[in-house]
Amino acid sequence: MNLPLKPNETNATAHHLYSDAYDWTNQCVKCGYCLPACPTYESMGVESASPRGRINLVKMAAEGKIDFQKDLAEPIDLCLGCRACETACPVGVPYGHILEAAKEAIENSPSSNQKNKMNKIKKLALVHLFPYPKRMNRIGRAVQFYQKTGFSKLIRSSNVLQKVSPALAHLEQALPAIESSSKRIRTGTIMPAKGETKLKVAFFTGCIMDSMMSRINRLTIELLTLAGCEVILPENQNCCGALHSHQGETEQAKALAKRNIQAFMQSDADVIVNNAGGCGASLLEYGHLLADDHEWAGAARAFSEKSKDISQILHQLGPLPFTEEWQGIVSYQDSCHLRNVQKVQMEPRLLLQSIPGISYVEMEGFDRCCASGGIYNLLHFDESMKILDGKMKNLKETKATTIVTVNPGCQMQMSIGIQREGAANEMKSMHLVEILAKACGLD
């Protein structure tokens, strides 16, 4: 019988992983209850694509039995990070923490300089784009220019993107029409509540949401004020750092977290609201991310405790003053990070069902990841599409004409799914905020 080995002293990465995550991996009793919850185990069918397999591989790496790059990197990279396994686990293994510790270790392991092309794109986005609101906005404006000028039609008809990268081509088509920046509500603004002020909230704008989906942000703020919130948009807020954490760039994630904590704690808001499941999960975990940082731990915990999803706030303050009836069948695709990390499941459904005239139908496998997974659909296009196509089959069975999500990544992924099905004329994907705003006559 093999005993756990002490990691080789010369292998500093294994040593780090051992102290960071070994005890967590040891909590796994290998019962396999996580297997049916895992979308990549279902689509790939091998144990290394399952949570139990991945946890065991992290353990093996920490024990110095396998190589970080050669053996561990791919199975970890192929994980969507949807964390559905955590909800299925009977013993509460903190899979998300294990995953991030593994990613950080892989990133820092000695042989990590053998990066492929995709990793360079990843790095470019993570290090040089997302953390900088101005750069993101410039891109947003460029995309808007691209969409407005008819250049996009030219690109689409020439099929050039498809030849370069099917992943990018899909994403290009899934991008929402970007609203003119003149409509964007800028940070530093305070929007008063319409009528009585029931709650003071600080709004987290996000990086992609702010630049590419500023329309959804604007509608979120309008809905909040309509529901009785005074909405503060703290200045100097920035990207939540979720994608950095997920890609093993923990130090950068910590730096971003600290900037956000500083920006938000200056406002005297009761609640910090966001409208993106992935960002929300990341904000909720600042307490964990900075737990070892004596200077920041307390503030990080306080920040996390105040963080709420838009659906929680609107449900709490509801009912919304709807003015329009909705025609047609609507279904809801859970955001994994909203469902599995923030544990918000009922509020978006109840809000949807409260819209006058709506027919709400639950889709089989609503709790399964759509395989957008941050930028998973860019990094692992084929695997992602395999999972998405299965999801679309279930969605079609509901006969829904609208699929609603609460996360930009999920929303775009569902748009990609609709395109792949050739169903763009009969079906659309919307953010929860968009459909609620429309029913409230805000659009």
Partner: protein
């Protein structure tokens, strides 16, 4: 693996279903028991013909082969203890036919057991064996390990339901045993021999399983006892009163405390035992039976009895039982889970013996289980990095088995022998009994290809060795 063998294997299994890389091999090196053995190769066949060819090749090149379902085994069933080849059976899942007229299901081995439950119930039928792992475990694994769960008391184990099989033998032939008839007395009952053979006598590639009418209704109640001995008497009184509950579960004081500190729900910390009893059948009959059971518990000294009035209350009662496993793993990272089983009249005596073992070795030993059928689950919670304690665990495990056998019981009620209990086989069966079984194995599998190292102890092995 030798290059020649590998080249031959490539003629049978395509590269994308054959894994030689270290990561994937490590992923098939474990199950839900204790132990880790690295296979040389993992393959994922898709049909009986491929498996047949692979087994013939394994005989030619003398490669050990281990069939594996979802790897939920608690006895080490699929562990590749002698290296060689793990056959992952999870891709064989294309067939799940419910034959309503004949009340049967015809299934591929990789089908998840819960899917059989679901499909059978949709047809108004019922497949009773319900291992806790049924949402994950494959039916192939269930029937080779002869699994069961809380419903074993009334409905028995998997073997009660298997009436026909398609099997690849240890030498690579494809045979059929039994058939679709409930009555079948033709020749030796090879079906029964293979079911529970733990993958040492064949690889099941299709099974015909019997279904029964779905019970119309069920009711559940819970009883608390301040004295363990009273709960034992309540169990025997209920069972001798002519009532056969569909489940009769027991939690001891250590379990109660563990569950309460894991997820506080107002369980009685002073109670020495909690019984959960479920009765299924016709609504009128169970109404009468459940009241009678509750009366018996009160008469035997239960301090509290509660019959669930709503489905929500029923779930609350069961959630305490279902929290046992997660609750006790909070006490330590390593869980040695046993399933020694005694005749149900001996449950109080067995509980007593287990208490003594707990005190003697000063171990975290908790007991829960399917008391109605005498199937107890003594669990020792420890840390395998603590060598001194692990040595004590080895001794305690031996004593648990000795106690079970002395009380007229058996080493395993539902998990199988695997690697963890093989050293004790002679204790239960005697040397001649074990030799008879070995003769069968040698006749079926002359090259000892299929799942070697299981059921039978290595020479001179008389107790389990958990750490070296």
């Amino acid at each position: 693996m030798e290059k020649e063998a590998l080249d031959d294997l490539r003629q049978i299994i395509p590269d994308d279903r054959m894994f030689l890389d270290l990561a994937e091999r490590y992923c098939y090196s474990y199950d839900a028991s204790f132990g880790e053995y690295l296979p040389e190769i993992v393959i994922q066949p898709k049909n009986a013909e491929e498996i047949s060819e692979v087994i013939k090749l394994a005989n030619t090149h003398k490669i050990p082969v281990y069939p594996r379902g979802s790897g939920t085994s608690l006895s080490g069933g699929p562990l590749p203890v002698k290296g060689g080849m793990v056959i992952d059976m999870t891709l064989l899942r294309d067939k799940l036919i419910i034959d309503r007229e004949n009340m049967l299901a015809i299934v591929s081995p990789g089908v998840i057991t819960a899917n059989i439950h679901k499909k059978a119930e949709e047809a108004g039928l019922f497949y009773p064996p319900d291992p806790s792992s049924s949402n994950v475990a494959t039916i192939g694994g269930n029937l080779l390990e002869n699994s069961s769960g809380p419903k074993g008391l009334k409905y028995g184990t998997t073997k009660e339901y298997v009436i026909g099989l398609e099997v690849v033998t240890p030498t690579g032939e494809i045979i059929r045993t039994g058939g679709k008839t409930v009555k079948n007395v033709t020749g030796y009952d090879l079906t029964r021999l293979i079911v529970g053979s733990e993958g040492t006598l064949g690889i099941v590639t299709e099974a015909i399983i019997r279904l029964i009418p779905k019970p119309q209704s069920k009711q559940t109640f819970v009883a608390h006892f301040n004295h363990l001995i009273d709960s034992g008497h309540a169990i025997t009184s209920i069972l001798s009163s002519g009532i056969l509950p569909s489940a009769l579960e027991l939690m001891d004081n250590a379990c109660i405390r563990a569950v309460e500190s894991y997820r506080p729900s107002g369980l009685p910390l002073q109670a020495e035992a909690i019984l959960i009893i479920e009765i299924d059948g016709h609504p009128l009959a169970i109404e009468e039976e459940i009241n009678k059971c509750a009366d018996i518990c009160k008469a035997e000294g239960a301090s509290y009895v509660k019959i669930a009035e709503t489905e929500e209350e029923r779930q609350t009662i069961w959630s305490a039982r279902k929290s046992v496993s997660p609750a006790i793993t909070q006490m330590g990272p390593t869980k040695i889970s046993e399933d020694a089983t005694v005749p149900r009249s001996q449950i109080p005596a067995m509980m007593d013996r287990l208490n003594n073992i707990r005190e003697k070795y000063e171990l975290n030993l908790v007991v829960f289980g399917h008391a109605g059928d005498g199937n107890l689950h003594p669990n020792i919670i420890t840390d395998k990095r603590n060598i001194t304690e692990m040595k004590k665990v080895e001794l305690a495990v031996s004593e648990i088995f000795e106690a079970a056998i002395e009380l007229g019981g058996t080493l395993s009620g539902e998990h199988g022998i695997g690697t963890l209990k093989s050293p004790y086989m002679e204790m239960e069966l005697g040397i001649t009994g074990v030799n008879m079984m070995k003769k069968i194995k040698e006749a079926w599998d002359p090259n000892n290809i299929l799942n070697p190292g299981k059921i039978f102890p290595d020479k001179g092995q008389t107790r389990v060795v958990l750490v070296t």
